[in-house]
Structure formats: structure tokens, C-alpha cells
Symmetry: C2
Subunit: 199 residues, 2 copies
DNA sequence: TCTTATAACGGACAACTGTCCGTTTAATTA
DNA sequence: TAATTAAACGGACAGTTGTCCGTTATAAGA
């Protein structure tokens, strides 16, 4: 059976959308720019935009794609460089990268977080490579931390997921503001939390 | 100076809104009901509705008010009854109550979570009594857990906040489904995580 | 009780979201 | 190269959000 490859106009429009959104977000910020405005500015139909991206959060998540690749590479490098350090330290290292990412890409992340309603949805953050990768790496480190424990322990996947959720932009910026901490102070407290290990 | 008391019609409308929203949510679910529909059904103007509630999430949060009071009382009772148990056990007890609440009130919580955009906003979950109460109680228990530690430790407020954030409905239901765990199994894993204490 | 100031009301409106459906266009096949 | 076919397009539309502003009703004071 022959596989029809993606039509040229479809590909061009996808690139045009990302380009246009990037420019509009740079000029006005993410939140104030509407999907209508993106379509209008790009000179394409509303439906063409929605056919590619289910909602603005979906679009924002795709705009984080390259950043996500870069982040995953950096984390991989970090883990290799520090392979002989304690697992808890490497874990807090990943958390540090994650916090930097939130600070860097706050607007896009907040948008994609707020539109994340339906499970198994296009544009669900929990389906993104960045989330899956980080959960996996954190899970491995947590498994290493609790590894030599005979009594039944918690599921490292759940712990990793919990750590990532606790770093959702909404919650992160709230506590940061409420406590009046700097980014480095938050990192430091998370780092100390990672030092915890079973009684 | 004289304090004008709240006008009668304003009070009546507030009750009418809550009553109407309750009925509509019961019949159709939370997500499918629009603010327009609530106003129309209640027989009041759109602006009257928005004057009382900044958005649907704000309304949902208010609809959780009584439930929140009940929950706080239950947690208080629990803490008194178990005052002689280890702090980590009481902590996982609170988490248990919290998880039950998520399961009970998923729809309202998801709605209020997804509309929580601006900090210091009416209808921000982090301003709600339920959040503040739980964070305070968890923070006290965490302080107790790490209390007799001479080296600098993490801020219990941050840890408490992190635990609550990790239990946001979106994240909770995602991991529950992905792992195929029952509610009790999630509680069990959280309980084991709470057993952790400093190296 | 009547007047008055003002809080609250609500219809109408502008803008946004997301979808439908008839039309166009690119890739495949002859 | 022409015909075919299905993917992709985009204007238009219905429904929703959130606000504005002229009108109404209520509580306080005379």
C-alpha cells in the first residue's frame, strides 16, 4: 500500500504557524494573543490552524519542542558527567534544570498547563517527550535511592510524577512569591528535600 | 461612618446562582455548563453573574466552600484522635483525606484548577481556606519530622506546598490511570513516601 | 414617608473558541 | 500530461466569555 506523504502546503502552513506565533508571542506575550489573531496574521483559515493544533496550549507545547530536545540533552550530559555522585544529588540536579526551564519558558508552560483538560488529549503536557523523559530519569534515580530496601517501598514512578507536578508553573510561582525566595533558594530547598531517604 | 449593608437583591441573587449552578452541574456535569447558561437559567443578567464570580473556576471554588469546612473539621478531628502517632503517619493521614476529596469533587476542582491563571486572582485555589489550612497542618507535621535536625533543612512550607501540588486533580488522575492503580493503592504509595525522613 | 445617593442590575456588545462544509489543491495513477 | 481522489483549505457560523453603560431598586437620611 502506498503511503501518501504530507502535502507541501500542509507542511508550509505548519511552519508558517510556528513562525507567526513566535513573532506575535514575542511582541505581545503569549496570553494576550488569540488563535484568531494567529490565523489572521499568518493569512490562513481558522480551521487550518485548529486542524494542526487542538488549542493554544497544544501550539505552545509544540513551540517548546526544540527547547525540550536541548533540555533533555543537557540533562543526559549532566547525568553522565555526575554518574559517580549520589543518586539524591543527581536527582536534585535534574530538578535544578527543570526549575530553570520553568523560569525560562513560564508563559508557554502556563498556557499549555491551563488548557490541559482532557486526558489523552492532543496538547496534554503529560504526553510530551520532556515530561516522559524527566519522569523516567527521576524514577531511575529514585529507584536507586530506595533500591537496597527489603520492605515494600513506594513506586518511584509515582514519586517522580509527584516531583514534576509539584513543579508546575502555577504552583511554583505561587510559592516563590509567597515565600519571597529567589530561584536559587527554591532550588536549594528542593535539593535538601531530595536528600531524604528511607528511615 | 455608616456601613451600607449588602442589598437584599444582591444576597438573593448570590443564593440563586449557587442553587442554579448546583442543579445544572448535577444534570449536565460541570464542564458542559456555560456561565451564560447559568445566568439565563437563573433569570439574571450576565453581568450580575460575573460581578459575583470572576469566572467559572471562581464559582466552582465557592461551591466547594461547605465541603471545605467539613473536610477541615474532619482533618482536625483526625489529628486530635491520632495526636500520639508518628508525625509521618499523621501526614499520610491528611494526604488520604485530600485524595478522597479529589475523588469526591473532581469536576469542580478540575474546573477551578484550569481557570487559575493570574496570581492574586479571585478564584485562585491557592487563596482558598482549604489549601491554606492543609498547607499549614502539613507544614507543622513536616517541621515535627525534621525538627530535631541541626543541619539546615528544607522549608516545611515548601514541602507541604509541593505535596499539595503533586495532588492536583490533573496530575492525580493521569498517574492513577497510567499506572492502573486504585485509589487505595495511590494512598498506600503516598503513605510510604511520607515515611521518608532525613539521612 | 419621601428623597436621594449609589449599589446592583441586565441587555447588548465585542472578541474569542472551535466546528462545519463546500471548495481548492497537491499527489498519485493512467 | 490529464484524470482522479482524498487531503487540506478557509470563510462563515454558532456558542461562549467577559465588559460596558444606561436603567432600576434599595437602604439611609431628612
Amino acid at each position: 500500500m502506498s503511503v501518501r506523504r504530507e502535502r507541501r502546503d500542509a507542511l508550509e502552513n505548519r511552519q508558517l504557524i510556528l513562525q507567526t506565533a513566535h513573532e506575535l508571542f514575542n511582541e505581545y506575550g503569549v496570553q494576550p494573543v488569540s488563535m484568531h489573531q494567529i490565523a489572521k496574521t499568518a493569512g490562513i483559515g481558522q480551521a487550518t490552524l485548529y486542524r494542526k493544533y487542538a488549542h493554544k496550549g497544544d501550539l505552545c507545547l509544540d513551540m517548546l519542542h526544540d527547547y525540550g530536545i536541548k533540555l533533555m540533552n543537557e540533562i543526559n550530559d549532566y547525568l553522565v558527567r555526575n554518574r559517580d555522585n549520589p543518586a539524591s544529588e543527581r536527582l536534585s540536579g535534574i530538578v535544578g534544570f527543570w526549575i530553570d526551564a520553568i523560569e525560562d519558558k513560564a508563559e508557554l508552560l502556563i498556557e499549555s498547563e491551563s488548557k490541559m483538560k482532557c486526558e489523552n488529549d492532543r496538547g496534554n503536557f503529560f504526553q510530551s517527550p520532556m515530561y516522559r523523559f524527566s519522569k523516567e530519569k527521576m524514577s531511575e534515580l529514585l529507584a536507586e535511592i530506595v533500591g537496597d530496601n527489603q520492605q515494600p517501598s513506594f513506586d518511584p514512578d509515582i514519586a517522580a510524577h509527584a516531583i514534576i507536578c509539584s513543579l508546575s508553573p502555577g504552583g511554583y510561582f505561587h510559592i516563590k512569591q509567597e515565600k519571597g525566595y529567589t530561584t536559587e533558594q527554591i532550588k536549594e530547598h528542593y535539593s535538601r528535600m531530595c536528600k531524604f531517604s528511607p528511615q
